[in-house]
Point group: D3
Chain length 229, copies 6
Amino acid sequence: MNVVYTNIRRADAEVVNALARCGVATVHEAQGRTGLLGPALRPIYAGARIAGAAVTVSLAPADNWMIHVAVEQCQAGDVLVVAPTSYSDAGYFGELLAASLAVRGVRGLVIDAGVRDVRELTGIGFPVWSKAVHAQGTVKETLGSVNVPVVCAGGLVNPGDVVIADDDGVCIVARLEAARVLQASETREAKEATVRERLQRGELGLDIYDMRDKLAKRGLIYRPQSLAE
Amino acid sequence: MNVVYTNIRRADAEVVNALARCGVATVHEAQGRTGLLGPALRPIYAGARIAGAAVTVSLAPADNWMIHVAVEQCQAGDVLVVAPTSYSDAGYFGELLAASLAVRGVRGLVIDAGVRDVRELTGIGFPVWSKAVHAQGTVKETLGSVNVPVVCAGGLVNPGDVVIADDDGVCIVARLEAARVLQASETREAKEATVRERLQRGELGLDIYDMRDKLAKRGLIYRPQSLAE
Amino acid sequence: MNVVYTNIRRADAEVVNALARCGVATVHEAQGRTGLLGPALRPIYAGARIAGAAVTVSLAPADNWMIHVAVEQCQAGDVLVVAPTSYSDAGYFGELLAASLAVRGVRGLVIDAGVRDVRELTGIGFPVWSKAVHAQGTVKETLGSVNVPVVCAGGLVNPGDVVIADDDGVCIVARLEAARVLQASETREAKEATVRERLQRGELGLDIYDMRDKLAKRGLIYRPQSLAE
Amino acid sequence: MNVVYTNIRRADAEVVNALARCGVATVHEAQGRTGLLGPALRPIYAGARIAGAAVTVSLAPADNWMIHVAVEQCQAGDVLVVAPTSYSDAGYFGELLAASLAVRGVRGLVIDAGVRDVRELTGIGFPVWSKAVHAQGTVKETLGSVNVPVVCAGGLVNPGDVVIADDDGVCIVARLEAARVLQASETREAKEATVRERLQRGELGLDIYDMRDKLAKRGLIYRPQSLAE
Amino acid sequence: MNVVYTNIRRADAEVVNALARCGVATVHEAQGRTGLLGPALRPIYAGARIAGAAVTVSLAPADNWMIHVAVEQCQAGDVLVVAPTSYSDAGYFGELLAASLAVRGVRGLVIDAGVRDVRELTGIGFPVWSKAVHAQGTVKETLGSVNVPVVCAGGLVNPGDVVIADDDGVCIVARLEAARVLQASETREAKEATVRERLQRGELGLDIYDMRDKLAKRGLIYRPQSLAE
Amino acid sequence: MNVVYTNIRRADAEVVNALARCGVATVHEAQGRTGLLGPALRPIYAGARIAGAAVTVSLAPADNWMIHVAVEQCQAGDVLVVAPTSYSDAGYFGELLAASLAVRGVRGLVIDAGVRDVRELTGIGFPVWSKAVHAQGTVKETLGSVNVPVVCAGGLVNPGDVVIADDDGVCIVARLEAARVLQASETREAKEATVRERLQRGELGLDIYDMRDKLAKRGLIYRPQSLAE
């Protein structure tokens, strides 16, 4: 059965924006090392860092019809998340769809497939995380669904979840967890700031994290190289 | 039998240059979604967009002898297309060969293998589409052929065909089809300009492409999320 | 048995710096086409070219504990080389470890796995060659070794060896061979300068390298395309 | 938070056994082409066809501690489903764990990672679907969870779901859908039996499925090859 | 434009059958090391060795409609060759299509994509060379072409060409070259029989092929290991 | 410099044969989880389990000349280990070379590349572990070396080392470590026999390995599924 769910509940906008500032690596750690999509997803250009509410699309391989359907479900602050039902690296998305999303205030695209018009997308500053760049066209023949749970690059995404994406990849935070994860992320950032400062002064992680004892107990041996043979 | 075909027929230079302006994605669509080489071919730097007549090279894996032979067959406006007879990611091509091609007016290289001296090639602005960057040297021991049909990254390339390459990948247009494909590409561009304008004003592809009826006939259901469970 | 070898012998600093200027492709050729690590290792940003003495780390997959141990063994001019004992693309290394290495004068990281905080590493100019970018965290539970021989991306690296890394990849020069390889590299550079100049004047490699005879003896045929069918 | 959920609800045993007889391809079709895990999962030997209730394991890469924990949660008729939190092809599972599961009546293992002792597992007839065969050992240091939802080879698996596995791969049926999907599978099988018979008598799918009209309307052209050029 | 070419010219049946007896490796060598498809194509079961005339199918990714169309174009002794226009590992082909082909005397399938019902295909002895086994279903929505030239796993296949397939992979012989290649294959086989006999008596290839001189001239050095350090 | 080292020192034959009986997984564990080659190496047929002294070959990609040279260096009980200097999946080895090795008593081949004549090799029972099956021929043009250290599928192999290979892959034991590793392997086997017996009686690994306390201390929680939501 192919359904478009409308009026989805979205994570709180302020929380979403604050998560963007934290970035993928921090948020992933702060929520207990879950939610990360696979490293095959790479940004088409360096430097973008976004977060938004997920509008999800499940579609047939090499068929982008449901992306056209999904556009209407998007609103300002959303991120489109697209996953075909079997492997495809065709180019489902280009500058016309981007123009249509940009005018609605959509912040970017995460697609477990290919994208094209990279030059134009870079020109207008519409960021895409994809696993391929490929000009191969797609058809518009088979129904899929919008705003259903999808598995994208090995991770589960529910509609309305927070999508955070930057040069390190893409991380998903469950809608109802977003506020809690933001708090944990900010705590983590504060703690890292202190550690960073100490490291920059030349202190060693071995000492800051108190590792020497545990290493010795496990049996780590130090030996001058001259004694190696 | 190893042959170098000389005096190949090339696509018309003006048509070639106009195809470059259209770019890979448009040309691929305009010629009925054929001619695209595989997405493993990536540019060594972003932003180049070229077209030229193909001088093709079929060579032994990890042996670049025939590239040296092919240089002599190249003239201004050509693009060199290189395909080994089995998988190899060695570095067949570097800045010395690029210098040699550049002085003859060759516009770039498409190679279903590896390239090296990326820093220098970027510096002199000689664009390469390859499936690997690898410094691994090659030998000069085994004959191959120049200006024979080759399969490169899964696509067929005949000598004299038009090669279009940009950030989206590489597309081949048969020499005798070039004028017709250019016309179709320009028609497509004009049509896309109209659509783009409407999209940027906020119209939906669903309406512009008249999809709603077809979607309903196929059975697509719209349902508020609150009714999901 | 897990050991940290201390006080390793390092290649001479001046030789190391001169090798950096030669770059990966030249050094690899000059030492007889050996020492290259595989092309899966890519720089996180373009343009860096470094050389340094290898501090090597062998560690468990998805466990970065031994990197923290290795920091203490690093000194100015070193390059850290990290290899897990089975495949992993997790993110073993980020900006905190980079800060710690940078303050000691370490020049970069080569890791046969994943890295994260790419935006921050790019910002502070700490270059990394890795086979993935991935925010996935690692644990600190299992011992490994520091300054033992490791196989990294298919190549052998001994502690104290010279690591050269640039946009073309990563090349290793044995510590005791470094001076000899530098001399061979500089000889090669001088020779290439002459060839480059001749090529830029329009001479052909076929003539410069005296290939025409050998090609003819092997049986290469030249034939105008009009006679092809 | 790391949890082992006990006393999970399982799909009905008779339904599970009947689904095994239908096989992966039929069940996947019958439930609307959903639930399939990716083709990287391959059986270690040909010919096994099983179904069972999923006991799921989420664990750290290269760490099989939680499999030992999961054994206790397994009962006769179960299939163990194991997914690391990032890519790993280490060998998490061998004949000792298989002996332990076999004695409890577990029917097989699906693991998005590597397996070892393939010769022994084949000898005792304990089937495994994995993405690698690799002797690489794993550690027992990091907690994970048992009977939580996991993404395995790109598909979502909930504890208690039906796992069907055969030479074609692995398919998941939601616990509450199992009876309905079985009915649809058996309907499909009956229909296929009729079609098979007609095909074996020499009738064409073109006629059985009434495709000729639709093909003609879409514009398919038939042309003798002699007119091709 | 989508066309089905009918009444294609096929290679001579006796020549085809004799080529099957020679096998892929011999034929590939005998025709000058051309015509081989890529090693991603693997047989679904070991031991099959077939040859036949190619009926080719170019189709959309994840859409098997044109295979149904192609069945009607097949006759006894043919081999079906299927290539999607972009990467797909979906399961385009199963036992119903096999039944339909088998009743017409088709000898097997070569597909640059996925196949399913492997257990049943093995049971009826219908051999398939594919790059994946995957139960994922395909649609029947988009036209393609039958009996046009296709690129399959990196090699060019024209309708009516000879397809030879065995445990070593798949090799294509141009229709008009088949008789000549058969002769060369049989000559090669005879020559190999003599060499095999000499090798089995303990003679060395170094002597049979007269390599010692050439090795010495190139500079190969023999040195007892005791002198290695 | 290209050298053939002759008269290499080999591991003791009785130790080698005893290691074969232990198999790859056991030996790998017994020597501290080192020495394993990567899982890309797969046997061409199931069920072989061999061990032998390594005769190593470093050769140019797609060039098998040095294998012919290496045959003369082989003696009864050896295993040939072949590694090209950059990636290649060409077919370096077939039944003629196997015949030549078999007559000398060589036990098998490990090759980080492709093999052909799989049907014939299976027929005569000459086992091969390779990363591809591919009929693609190779040339005999470029020198390499025999009995030098090579990196094969990510692992280091020295001439004379013990190579153990079975369905789980390939493991290397240093020549001078072989006796010690055999002893450790046999100790491990004895210990595993006891564990196996207890597991087969229904005891749990959790109890046999005393894991419950450690799990509790780390914080693992057990919770009935009914309390999950």
